[in-house]
Symmetry: C2
């Protein structure tokens, strides 16, 4: 499976395919055409065929897709078989929200520890994990498998903590600070920009306002 030429636009749609296919499996749907999938997902059927062809197709003319196989294969492309282990740094509201978000476990990710530098938070239990002191970070990572650091710390600490976890050998950072974090290291980083999604909503609402005005 040569996926070297796969664009990030396609990759970003894969989790969505995964979600829909998982929902179909729960409904015991075993087989689906690109047309039906297209109607469900609000993507054109040709887009779906094109996307999945990047990874070798999976579909059969006249049959459609086998839901279980397709879901499993997309899961593999997304790396779910690695069962990545993550720590959360920052036990504030966002850290709490993420620690309690049960869907990550369903997607094969486990949260194995939570850290904070606030002594009032250290020792508090969040979803069965006691918050650890930041001083224990080096020791913890040395003695446990940790693949991903989820950063939910204030903006001004983000770069410094990112450098720290990268130097400890962490391979992935999921960053919730409103900045495009970049590191020189070989660390993969996904920056979550919540306000981007709100602004897309604003765009769509504004477009409707403009259209309504124009049709008066």
């Amino acid at each position: 499976m040569d996926d070297k030429k796969v664009s990030m636009a396609v990759v970003k749609r894969l989790p969505r395919y995964y979600r829909y296919l998982t929902d179909l499996l729960k409904l015991e749907v075993n087989r689906i055409s690109s047309k039906e999938l297209s109607e469900k997902m609000g993507i054109t059927a040709s887009q779906i065929r094109q996307d999945l062809n990047c990874f070798g197709g999976f579909g059969q003319q006249g049959y459609g897709y086998n839901v279980e196989i397709l879901q499993r294969e997309i899961g593999k492309i997304l790396g779910m078989q690695n069962k990545f282990k993550a720590i959360i740094i920052g036990a504030g509201n966002m850290g709490n929200a993420i620690a309690n978000y049960s869907l990550f476990a369903e997607r094969g990710y486990s949260i194995v520890a939570i850290f904070d530098n606030n002594t009032e938070k250290v020792g508090k239990i969040i979803n069965n994990l006691a918050v650890l002191d930041m001083n224990e970070l080096e020791n913890y990572i040395k003695n446990n498998r940790v693949d991903i650091a989820i950063l939910t710390v204030p903006f001004q600490y983000t770069s410094q903590i990112a450098e720290r976890v990268a130097s400890l050998g962490i391979k992935g950072i999921w960053n919730f600070s409103p900045m495009d974090l970049r590191l020189s290291h070989e660390v993969k980083i996904e920056n979550v920009h919540l306000s981007d999604s709100l602004m897309v909503l604003g765009y769509r609402m504004n477009k409707k306002i403009e259209e309504d005005k124009a049709s008066l």
Copy 2:
């Protein structure tokens, strides 16, 4: 400005342009070429020119872009001049995190009220707002301008509450439940799927693992 044919892929990049241009303005950069912007943003210069051409260009050959004008125009396309007002429904961890996220105000959005049906949460102060009882929702929306409902409620209540706010005339819903909420009404909905972004990180980490294996 005819933006009827603008694809959602372009729209989704606009908040990112807005962020970068805002950062440049803070650094008192007044003018930038598509090449420089491209290096900063990690998008090709031709992609940038193509994206901005969808809205009429803004650039001048040999000069580049005027940062202030471009930022303001993109802000307008994104509808920031509407100064949308939002309520949060669900005063849990995610609701708290969003209520305390100062960036939304910078982007022109204001959180005007927070609701919860848990009497233990009602009356609690979150970022200067007292949590209101869900029973007051109808009354509040009748007497105050509310454009957007931010839903941070448990999965099983999401559809029902979405229908309720839509029937009260709310024009936009920002949904944090892990589902693709759809309404028959003329309500614009953005569904935030946090796990999608984590899975994209997983894809990129997995790809590196595969490449490292291949190069052994």
